[in-house]
Symmetry: C2
Subunit: 224 residues, 2 copies
Amino acid sequence: MNAHAMQPFTVRATPCADGANLVEISPGLRLQGFVMTFEENEEVFGEEEPADFVYKVVSGVCRTTRLLRDGRRQVSAFQLPGDVFGLERGVTHRRSAEAVSPCDVALVRSSVLRRAMDRDALAANQVWALTAAELERTEEHLLLLGRKTAAERVGSFLLSLSQRCGSFRTLDLPMSRSDIADHLGLTIETVSRTMSLFVRQGAIGLESARCVVLKHRDALTDPS
Amino acid sequence: MNAHAMQPFTVRATPCADGANLVEISPGLRLQGFVMTFEENEEVFGEEEPADFVYKVVSGVCRTTRLLRDGRRQVSAFQLPGDVFGLERGVTHRRSAEAVSPCDVALVRSSVLRRAMDRDALAANQVWALTAAELERTEEHLLLLGRKTAAERVGSFLLSLSQRCGSFRTLDLPMSRSDIADHLGLTIETVSRTMSLFVRQGAIGLESARCVVLKHRDALTDPS
DNA sequence: CGTCCCCTTGAGTTATTTCAACACTCGTGG
DNA sequence: CCACGAGTGTTGAAATAACTCAAGGGGACG
């Protein structure tokens, strides 16, 4: 189901918190937009759909995914509050995006952003920096998928998520084992076993399946 | 060995073919620069080195790589003639680059490019498009590394290289099995075995280890 | 209280790696 | 001209990391 198709009918757009419907794409680049709410696992946009909007997570967590025909799935990245996603070079989205948890997402029309970029070199440079940062994260993830073991993948994932969340001790995982597995190129069983291994080693504690206590960060650190 | 350190001493800079030392970073964005020649396996720049230059392949092939401390290596991408690489958001390179084959590479000072981007929205947008295209290719590669089998990886690689080269029947591989393996997250033995499998299946022919004849593209196509 | 979904754990399987040996190519030097 | 050695690629056999299949546990929610 395409969330956009519903937009004119389900009036879920609301003004942005920071004033007159303005969305801050990057520091100093505010554009007209609106906020939509998505529930868990609801699609934000689909592969091959027109890329009419650019998105920024206000609250909650999203994921961008690619599928093979036989159903194998790769979760390219998780988007945390503040992250921008769905910005494309062409006219269609090349992957789909869904809400991992209930989400508020700010939308800005791609055409509005494009116009700002065409007019204003500063805006264009800020958007470039966003894309370049995303490229950096993606290349880091290439190394993880290409050359790290299951334990290193899970360890790297927990550390990087805790850094992005700013939570240094207790880490609440918003996503399922299945999401983690498809992000790390593993199966849910391997993710689960690896977590259990870390618990046995005393590297982490599991208050619940979704609540991790980081006890010895060094034990999770890999030889990067 | 750092190629830049040598630059003042080994005068390898030569004027660009297209006139007054101008390097075409993208269509319509020409900046002052110069050309350097690298021999096979010579380092173009190293991880953590100052990112003083941006590079564009004139002839030959380069690779960008990341290393883990224990020597495991991930080849992020191969750069073919016309490809731009080494453009960073920060002040240092986050991976190293080496020549896969003897190369002519055009260099433009990062500061020169930055100035053009700051001054000129069109330039900034063209550079954004370059980075966004690189991100697209990198995300495609995520799917390969995360979810494809060895045969699918090698098949995808051969097809994508042939498309980039514009060579639809005979494909000359400029890189070693080791480079291919580290790009595809496999070992050299698995790459070799997979190629042999394709030969036995009649999907390709191997005139030599580095010269592939694509016989049945369909047999290499994966369920993407 | 039952049901569903998510997660965990165990046992057996398999794709890929590891280790080892051998073949081929190419340049050098006898 | 051929022998030699180094680098690169191929192939086989054994080992293993991760997967698959299957069963059971636990929490949330009606």
